[in-house]
Amino acid sequence: MLAALIIVFREVLEAGLIIGVVLAASRGVHGRNGAVALGVLAGIAGSIIVAVFASGISNAFDGRGQEIFVAAILLFAVIMLGWHVAWMAHHAREMTQQLRQLGSDVSAGRQSLFALGAAVAVAVMREGSEVVLFMTGILMQGKDNGFELLIGSGIGLMLGAVVSMVLYFGLAAIPIKQMFTVTGVLITLLAAGLAASAVKQLSNAGLLNVFDSTVWDSSSILSEDSWPGRVLSILVGYMDRPTGMQLIAYVATAAAIFFMSYILRAPAKPVGQRA
Protein backbone atom coordinates (compact mmCIF):
# COMPACT_ATOMS: atom_id res chain seq x y z
CA MET A 1 0.00 0.00 0.00
CA LEU A 2 2.84 2.36 0.87
CA ALA A 3 4.52 1.69 -2.47
CA ALA A 4 1.33 2.57 -4.36
CA LEU A 5 0.87 5.67 -2.21
CA ILE A 6 4.40 6.87 -2.95
CA ILE A 7 4.21 6.28 -6.70
CA VAL A 8 0.91 8.11 -7.09
CA PHE A 9 1.96 10.87 -4.70
CA ARG A 10 5.12 11.45 -6.73
CA GLU A 11 3.27 11.80 -10.02
CA VAL A 12 0.49 13.96 -8.58
CA LEU A 13 3.04 16.16 -6.86
CA GLU A 14 4.81 16.92 -10.13
CA ALA A 15 1.65 18.15 -11.81
CA GLY A 16 0.34 19.66 -8.57
CA LEU A 17 3.36 21.85 -7.90
CA ILE A 18 3.13 23.25 -11.42
CA ILE A 19 -0.57 24.00 -10.87
CA GLY A 20 0.15 25.60 -7.48
CA VAL A 21 2.74 27.96 -8.95
CA VAL A 22 0.59 28.79 -11.97
CA LEU A 23 -2.41 29.56 -9.75
CA ALA A 24 -0.35 31.84 -7.50
CA ALA A 25 1.11 33.60 -10.54
CA SER A 26 -2.31 34.34 -11.94
CA ARG A 27 -3.90 35.62 -8.76
CA GLY A 28 -6.37 38.30 -9.69
CA VAL A 29 -6.88 37.25 -13.28
CA HIS A 30 -10.60 37.05 -13.77
CA GLY A 31 -11.70 33.53 -14.75
CA ARG A 32 -8.46 31.79 -13.93
CA ASN A 33 -10.13 29.24 -11.64
CA GLY A 34 -12.30 28.10 -14.51
CA ALA A 35 -9.34 27.97 -16.86
CA VAL A 36 -7.29 25.88 -14.43
CA ALA A 37 -10.22 23.57 -13.64
CA LEU A 38 -10.83 23.09 -17.35
CA GLY A 39 -7.11 22.43 -17.81
CA VAL A 40 -7.15 19.75 -15.11
CA LEU A 41 -10.22 18.05 -16.59
CA ALA A 42 -8.77 18.14 -20.12
CA GLY A 43 -5.52 16.79 -18.67
CA ILE A 44 -7.27 13.87 -16.99
CA ALA A 45 -9.16 13.04 -20.19
CA GLY A 46 -5.85 13.30 -22.05
CA SER A 47 -4.15 10.97 -19.54
CA ILE A 48 -6.68 8.25 -20.19
CA ILE A 49 -6.29 8.60 -23.96
CA VAL A 50 -2.49 8.56 -23.69
CA ALA A 51 -2.62 5.52 -21.39
CA VAL A 52 -4.86 3.63 -23.84
CA PHE A 53 -2.50 4.34 -26.73
CA ALA A 54 0.71 4.00 -24.66
CA SER A 55 1.97 1.04 -26.63
CA GLY A 56 1.27 2.65 -30.00
CA ILE A 57 2.88 5.94 -28.96
CA SER A 58 5.94 4.11 -27.68
CA ASN A 59 6.43 2.10 -30.87
CA ALA A 60 6.05 5.07 -33.20
CA PHE A 61 9.16 6.52 -34.87
CA ASP A 62 11.23 3.35 -34.53
CA GLY A 63 10.64 3.09 -30.78
CA ARG A 64 11.29 6.78 -30.20
CA GLY A 65 7.61 7.74 -29.98
CA GLN A 66 7.33 8.11 -26.21
CA GLU A 67 10.40 10.35 -25.97
CA ILE A 68 9.27 12.51 -28.90
CA PHE A 69 5.76 12.75 -27.49
CA VAL A 70 6.93 13.74 -24.02
CA ALA A 71 9.46 16.23 -25.45
CA ALA A 72 6.69 17.82 -27.55
CA ILE A 73 4.43 18.09 -24.50
CA LEU A 74 7.22 19.66 -22.45
CA LEU A 75 8.15 22.18 -25.13
CA PHE A 76 4.49 23.11 -25.53
CA ALA A 77 4.27 23.70 -21.76
CA VAL A 78 7.45 25.82 -21.92
CA ILE A 79 5.91 28.04 -24.59
CA MET A 80 2.61 28.40 -22.70
CA LEU A 81 4.36 29.24 -19.42
CA GLY A 82 6.67 31.71 -21.17
CA TRP A 83 3.68 33.37 -22.77
CA HIS A 84 1.97 33.59 -19.39
CA VAL A 85 5.01 35.14 -17.65
CA ALA A 86 5.40 37.76 -20.36
CA TRP A 87 1.70 38.56 -20.26
CA MET A 88 1.81 38.95 -16.49
CA ALA A 89 4.84 41.23 -16.75
CA HIS A 90 2.90 43.33 -19.23
CA HIS A 91 -0.08 43.69 -16.90
CA ALA A 92 1.59 43.51 -13.49
CA ARG A 93 1.19 47.19 -12.65
CA GLU A 94 -2.52 47.53 -13.28
CA MET A 95 -3.20 44.16 -11.67
CA THR A 96 -1.26 45.03 -8.54
CA GLN A 97 -3.14 48.33 -8.30
CA GLN A 98 -6.54 46.80 -8.79
CA LEU A 99 -5.83 43.95 -6.38
CA ARG A 100 -4.81 46.47 -3.74
CA GLN A 101 -7.83 48.69 -4.26
CA LEU A 102 -10.51 46.10 -4.62
CA GLY A 103 -9.01 43.06 -3.01
CA SER A 104 -10.87 41.05 -5.58
CA ASP A 105 -10.60 39.77 -9.12
CA VAL A 106 -9.64 42.09 -11.92
CA SER A 107 -10.73 41.83 -15.49
CA ALA A 108 -7.48 43.15 -16.88
CA GLY A 109 -7.68 40.83 -19.81
CA ARG A 110 -7.88 37.16 -20.43
CA GLN A 111 -5.48 36.42 -23.21
CA SER A 112 -3.20 34.40 -20.97
CA LEU A 113 -5.97 32.17 -19.64
CA PHE A 114 -5.65 29.87 -22.62
CA ALA A 115 -1.91 29.55 -21.99
CA LEU A 116 -2.59 28.89 -18.34
CA GLY A 117 -5.19 26.20 -18.94
CA ALA A 118 -3.10 24.57 -21.66
CA ALA A 119 0.02 24.41 -19.47
CA VAL A 120 -2.01 22.84 -16.67
CA ALA A 121 -3.62 20.37 -19.09
CA VAL A 122 -0.32 19.04 -20.46
CA ALA A 123 1.25 18.85 -16.98
CA VAL A 124 -1.70 16.78 -15.77
CA MET A 125 -1.74 14.69 -18.94
CA ARG A 126 1.92 13.75 -18.67
CA GLU A 127 1.90 12.67 -15.03
CA GLY A 128 -1.70 11.48 -15.08
CA SER A 129 -1.11 8.93 -17.83
CA GLU A 130 1.44 7.22 -15.60
CA VAL A 131 -1.02 7.13 -12.71
CA VAL A 132 -3.72 5.70 -14.99
CA LEU A 133 -1.36 2.98 -16.27
CA PHE A 134 -0.18 2.15 -12.77
CA MET A 135 -3.70 1.86 -11.43
CA THR A 136 -5.03 -0.17 -14.36
CA GLY A 137 -2.07 -2.48 -13.73
CA ILE A 138 -3.25 -2.95 -10.16
CA LEU A 139 -6.81 -3.69 -11.30
CA MET A 140 -5.63 -6.16 -13.97
CA GLN A 141 -3.52 -8.13 -11.53
CA GLY A 142 -6.61 -8.75 -9.44
CA LYS A 143 -4.50 -9.59 -6.42
CA ASP A 144 -5.88 -9.92 -2.89
CA ASN A 145 -4.19 -6.67 -1.95
CA GLY A 146 -5.56 -4.85 -5.00
CA PHE A 147 -8.08 -2.95 -2.93
CA GLU A 148 -5.37 -1.94 -0.48
CA LEU A 149 -3.23 -0.68 -3.37
CA LEU A 150 -6.10 1.39 -4.69
CA ILE A 151 -6.63 2.93 -1.26
CA GLY A 152 -2.91 3.72 -1.15
CA SER A 153 -3.16 5.35 -4.58
CA GLY A 154 -6.14 7.39 -3.42
CA ILE A 155 -4.28 8.64 -0.34
CA GLY A 156 -1.26 9.45 -2.54
CA LEU A 157 -3.50 11.48 -4.81
CA MET A 158 -4.96 13.45 -1.92
CA LEU A 159 -1.57 14.04 -0.31
CA GLY A 160 -0.22 15.36 -3.61
CA ALA A 161 -3.14 17.76 -3.85
CA VAL A 162 -2.64 18.91 -0.25
CA VAL A 163 1.07 19.67 -0.75
CA SER A 164 0.24 21.63 -3.91
CA MET A 165 -2.33 23.67 -1.97
CA VAL A 166 0.20 24.37 0.78
CA LEU A 167 2.58 25.69 -1.88
CA TYR A 168 -0.17 27.83 -3.38
CA PHE A 169 -1.20 29.39 -0.07
CA GLY A 170 2.46 29.90 0.84
CA LEU A 171 3.00 31.85 -2.38
CA ALA A 172 -0.31 33.67 -2.02
CA ALA A 173 0.80 34.93 1.41
CA ILE A 174 3.63 36.91 -0.19
CA PRO A 175 2.71 40.63 -0.30
CA ILE A 176 1.09 41.51 -3.60
CA LYS A 177 3.85 43.90 -4.59
CA GLN A 178 6.50 41.18 -4.59
CA MET A 179 4.28 38.26 -5.44
CA PHE A 180 4.20 38.71 -9.20
CA THR A 181 7.97 39.07 -9.25
CA VAL A 182 8.47 35.92 -7.18
CA THR A 183 5.98 33.82 -9.13
CA GLY A 184 7.28 35.21 -12.44
CA VAL A 185 10.81 34.09 -11.56
CA LEU A 186 9.50 30.75 -10.30
CA ILE A 187 7.56 30.03 -13.49
CA THR A 188 10.53 31.09 -15.60
CA LEU A 189 12.81 28.62 -13.80
CA LEU A 190 10.12 25.95 -13.91
CA ALA A 191 9.82 26.42 -17.69
CA ALA A 192 13.61 26.34 -18.05
CA GLY A 193 13.68 23.05 -16.16
CA LEU A 194 10.99 21.60 -18.44
CA ALA A 195 13.02 22.66 -21.50
CA ALA A 196 16.07 20.89 -20.07
CA SER A 197 14.04 17.76 -19.46
CA ALA A 198 12.71 17.92 -23.05
CA VAL A 199 16.35 17.91 -24.18
CA LYS A 200 16.95 14.80 -22.09
CA GLN A 201 14.04 13.05 -23.80
CA LEU A 202 15.37 13.93 -27.26
CA SER A 203 18.82 12.81 -26.21
CA ASN A 204 17.43 9.50 -24.92
CA ALA A 205 15.70 9.06 -28.28
CA GLY A 206 19.10 9.45 -29.93
CA LEU A 207 17.88 12.56 -31.76
CA LEU A 208 20.02 15.17 -30.06
CA ASN A 209 23.61 14.15 -29.48
CA VAL A 210 25.29 17.55 -29.28
CA PHE A 211 27.09 18.46 -26.01
CA ASP A 212 25.79 15.18 -24.73
CA SER A 213 28.26 14.44 -21.95
CA THR A 214 27.50 15.00 -18.29
CA VAL A 215 28.87 18.32 -17.02
CA TRP A 216 28.73 17.54 -13.30
CA ASP A 217 27.47 14.84 -10.99
CA SER A 218 26.02 16.14 -7.73
CA SER A 219 23.87 13.06 -7.13
CA SER A 220 25.92 12.19 -4.03
CA ILE A 221 25.19 15.63 -2.52
CA LEU A 222 21.56 16.07 -3.59
CA SER A 223 20.09 13.25 -5.62
CA GLU A 224 17.23 14.03 -8.00
CA ASP A 225 15.68 10.87 -6.62
CA SER A 226 15.48 12.21 -3.05
CA TRP A 227 12.38 14.17 -2.03
CA PRO A 228 14.13 17.57 -1.74
CA GLY A 229 15.91 16.90 -5.03
CA ARG A 230 12.66 15.95 -6.70
CA VAL A 231 10.80 19.04 -5.50
CA LEU A 232 13.68 21.29 -6.53
CA SER A 233 13.86 19.61 -9.91
CA ILE A 234 10.18 20.37 -10.55
CA LEU A 235 10.18 23.91 -9.18
CA VAL A 236 13.51 25.28 -10.39
CA GLY A 237 14.74 22.55 -12.73
CA TYR A 238 17.48 21.15 -10.48
CA MET A 239 19.55 18.49 -12.29
CA ASP A 240 22.04 16.22 -10.53
CA ARG A 241 23.65 15.01 -13.76
CA PRO A 242 23.02 17.62 -16.46
CA THR A 243 24.47 17.40 -19.94
CA GLY A 244 25.90 20.45 -21.67
CA MET A 245 22.89 20.65 -23.96
CA GLN A 246 20.50 20.52 -21.00
CA LEU A 247 22.31 23.44 -19.38
CA ILE A 248 22.23 25.38 -22.66
CA ALA A 249 18.48 24.73 -22.98
CA TYR A 250 17.91 25.79 -19.38
CA VAL A 251 19.85 29.05 -19.67
CA ALA A 252 18.49 29.88 -23.14
CA THR A 253 14.87 29.36 -22.03
CA ALA A 254 15.25 31.36 -18.82
CA ALA A 255 17.04 34.15 -20.71
CA ALA A 256 14.40 34.22 -23.45
CA ILE A 257 11.53 34.51 -20.94
CA PHE A 258 13.34 37.14 -18.85
CA PHE A 259 14.12 39.10 -22.01
CA MET A 260 10.52 38.99 -23.23
CA SER A 261 9.18 39.99 -19.81
CA TYR A 262 11.65 42.86 -19.72
CA ILE A 263 10.69 44.36 -23.05
CA LEU A 264 6.98 43.76 -22.44
CA ARG A 265 7.01 44.86 -18.81
CA ALA A 266 4.28 47.23 -17.71
CA PRO A 267 5.33 50.57 -19.20
CA ALA A 268 5.13 53.86 -17.32
CA LYS A 269 2.71 55.07 -19.97
CA PRO A 270 0.43 52.90 -22.08
CA VAL A 271 2.17 51.18 -24.97
CA GLY A 272 2.24 53.23 -28.17
CA GLN A 273 2.27 56.65 -26.49
CA ARG A 274 5.99 56.85 -26.06
CA ALA A 275 7.89 59.64 -27.77
Binding site: L75, I79, A86, G206
Partner: protein, 126 residues
Protein backbone atom coordinates in the same frame (compact mmCIF):
# COMPACT_ATOMS: atom_id res chain seq x y z
CA UNK B 1 19.04 45.00 -36.27
CA UNK B 2 20.34 46.17 -32.91
CA UNK B 3 18.90 44.78 -29.69
CA UNK B 4 17.26 48.06 -28.73
CA UNK B 5 15.60 48.45 -32.11
CA UNK B 6 14.42 44.88 -31.88
CA UNK B 7 13.09 45.57 -28.41
CA UNK B 8 11.20 48.61 -29.63
CA UNK B 9 9.80 46.69 -32.57
CA UNK B 10 8.58 43.91 -30.29
CA UNK B 11 7.16 46.40 -27.83
CA UNK B 12 5.21 48.02 -30.63
CA UNK B 13 3.92 44.79 -32.04
CA UNK B 14 1.05 42.86 -30.54
CA UNK B 15 1.32 40.44 -27.69
CA UNK B 16 1.31 37.43 -29.97
CA UNK B 17 4.93 38.15 -30.80
CA UNK B 18 5.73 36.58 -27.44
CA UNK B 19 4.58 33.30 -28.84
CA UNK B 20 6.94 33.70 -31.79
CA UNK B 21 9.81 34.40 -29.40
CA UNK B 22 9.04 31.22 -27.49
CA UNK B 23 8.93 29.20 -30.67
CA UNK B 24 12.32 30.61 -31.65
CA UNK B 25 13.71 29.63 -28.27
CA UNK B 26 12.34 26.14 -28.78
CA UNK B 27 13.85 26.03 -32.25
CA UNK B 28 17.33 26.58 -30.85
CA UNK B 29 16.97 23.34 -28.95
CA UNK B 30 15.37 21.35 -31.71
CA UNK B 31 17.77 22.61 -34.36
CA UNK B 32 20.65 20.25 -33.77
CA UNK B 33 19.25 16.88 -34.70
CA UNK B 34 21.91 14.29 -35.27
CA UNK B 35 21.59 10.71 -36.46
CA UNK B 36 22.37 7.77 -34.20
CA UNK B 37 25.91 6.37 -34.27
CA UNK B 38 26.23 3.08 -36.14
CA UNK B 39 28.37 0.83 -33.99
CA UNK B 40 25.59 0.00 -31.54
CA UNK B 41 25.66 -2.87 -29.07
CA UNK B 42 22.23 -4.49 -28.83
CA UNK B 43 20.81 -6.44 -25.89
CA UNK B 44 17.44 -7.75 -24.87
CA UNK B 45 15.79 -7.85 -21.46
CA UNK B 46 12.40 -9.34 -20.73
CA UNK B 47 10.03 -8.72 -17.86
CA UNK B 48 8.06 -11.66 -16.55
CA UNK B 49 6.17 -11.86 -13.25
CA UNK B 50 7.60 -8.39 -12.51
CA UNK B 51 11.18 -9.66 -12.66
CA UNK B 52 13.92 -8.94 -15.19
CA UNK B 53 15.48 -11.70 -17.27
CA UNK B 54 18.42 -11.30 -17.26
CA UNK B 55 18.69 -9.10 -14.19
CA UNK B 56 22.47 -8.76 -14.49
CA UNK B 57 24.13 -7.72 -17.74
CA UNK B 58 27.66 -7.10 -18.88
CA UNK B 59 27.95 -4.31 -21.43
CA UNK B 60 30.92 -2.97 -23.35
CA UNK B 61 32.41 0.40 -22.45
CA UNK B 62 32.37 3.28 -24.95
CA UNK B 63 29.70 1.99 -27.33
CA UNK B 64 26.14 3.19 -27.72
CA UNK B 65 23.73 0.56 -26.39
CA UNK B 66 20.30 -0.36 -27.61
CA UNK B 67 18.19 -2.29 -25.10
CA UNK B 68 15.01 -3.95 -26.30
CA UNK B 69 12.77 -4.54 -23.30
CA UNK B 70 9.98 -7.06 -23.73
CA UNK B 71 7.23 -6.84 -21.18
CA UNK B 72 5.71 -10.34 -21.10
CA UNK B 73 3.37 -9.43 -18.25
CA UNK B 74 -0.14 -8.17 -18.95
CA UNK B 75 0.45 -5.16 -16.70
CA UNK B 76 2.36 -2.00 -17.61
CA UNK B 77 5.78 -1.30 -16.17
CA UNK B 78 7.96 1.78 -15.98
CA UNK B 79 11.50 0.79 -16.87
CA UNK B 80 13.76 3.25 -15.14
CA UNK B 81 17.36 3.95 -14.22
CA UNK B 82 18.71 7.06 -12.55
CA UNK B 83 22.25 5.88 -13.19
CA UNK B 84 21.68 5.38 -16.92
CA UNK B 85 19.34 8.38 -17.16
CA UNK B 86 16.06 7.12 -18.58
CA UNK B 87 12.52 6.23 -17.61
CA UNK B 88 10.10 4.67 -19.99
CA UNK B 89 6.60 3.26 -19.69
CA UNK B 90 6.14 -0.13 -21.31
CA UNK B 91 2.56 -1.27 -21.75
CA UNK B 92 1.54 -4.86 -20.97
CA UNK B 93 2.51 -7.48 -23.57
CA UNK B 94 4.57 -5.07 -25.61
CA UNK B 95 8.16 -4.02 -26.01
CA UNK B 96 10.15 -0.82 -26.02
CA UNK B 97 13.55 0.34 -27.14
CA UNK B 98 15.92 2.19 -24.82
CA UNK B 99 18.98 3.94 -26.22
CA UNK B 100 21.87 4.43 -23.83
CA UNK B 101 24.87 6.63 -24.46
CA UNK B 102 28.37 5.06 -24.39
CA UNK B 103 29.12 4.01 -20.83
CA UNK B 104 32.10 4.52 -18.57
CA UNK B 105 33.25 1.48 -16.54
CA UNK B 106 31.06 0.94 -13.50
CA UNK B 107 27.88 -0.59 -12.13
CA UNK B 108 24.51 0.87 -13.07
CA UNK B 109 21.24 -0.05 -11.39
CA UNK B 110 17.90 -0.25 -13.19
CA UNK B 111 14.44 -1.10 -11.89
CA UNK B 112 10.73 -1.30 -12.67
CA UNK B 113 9.12 1.59 -10.88
CA UNK B 114 5.72 -0.03 -10.59
CA UNK B 115 7.12 -3.15 -8.89
CA UNK B 116 10.24 -2.04 -7.10
CA UNK B 117 10.16 -4.92 -4.65
CA UNK B 118 10.83 -7.50 -7.37
CA UNK B 119 11.83 -5.73 -10.60
CA UNK B 120 15.48 -4.96 -9.92
CA UNK B 121 18.58 -5.38 -12.03
CA UNK B 122 22.00 -3.98 -12.79
CA UNK B 123 24.46 -3.47 -15.59
CA UNK B 124 28.20 -3.85 -15.29
CA UNK B 125 30.11 -1.91 -17.92
CA UNK B 126 33.70 -3.04 -18.53
Amino acid sequence: MSISRFARAVRRSSFSSVLLGSVLAGGVMGGALVAQAEDTHEVEISIKDHKFEPDALKLPVGKPIKITVKNLDATPEEFESHDLGFEKIIAGNSSAIIRVKPLKPGTYIFFGEFHQDSALGHVVAE
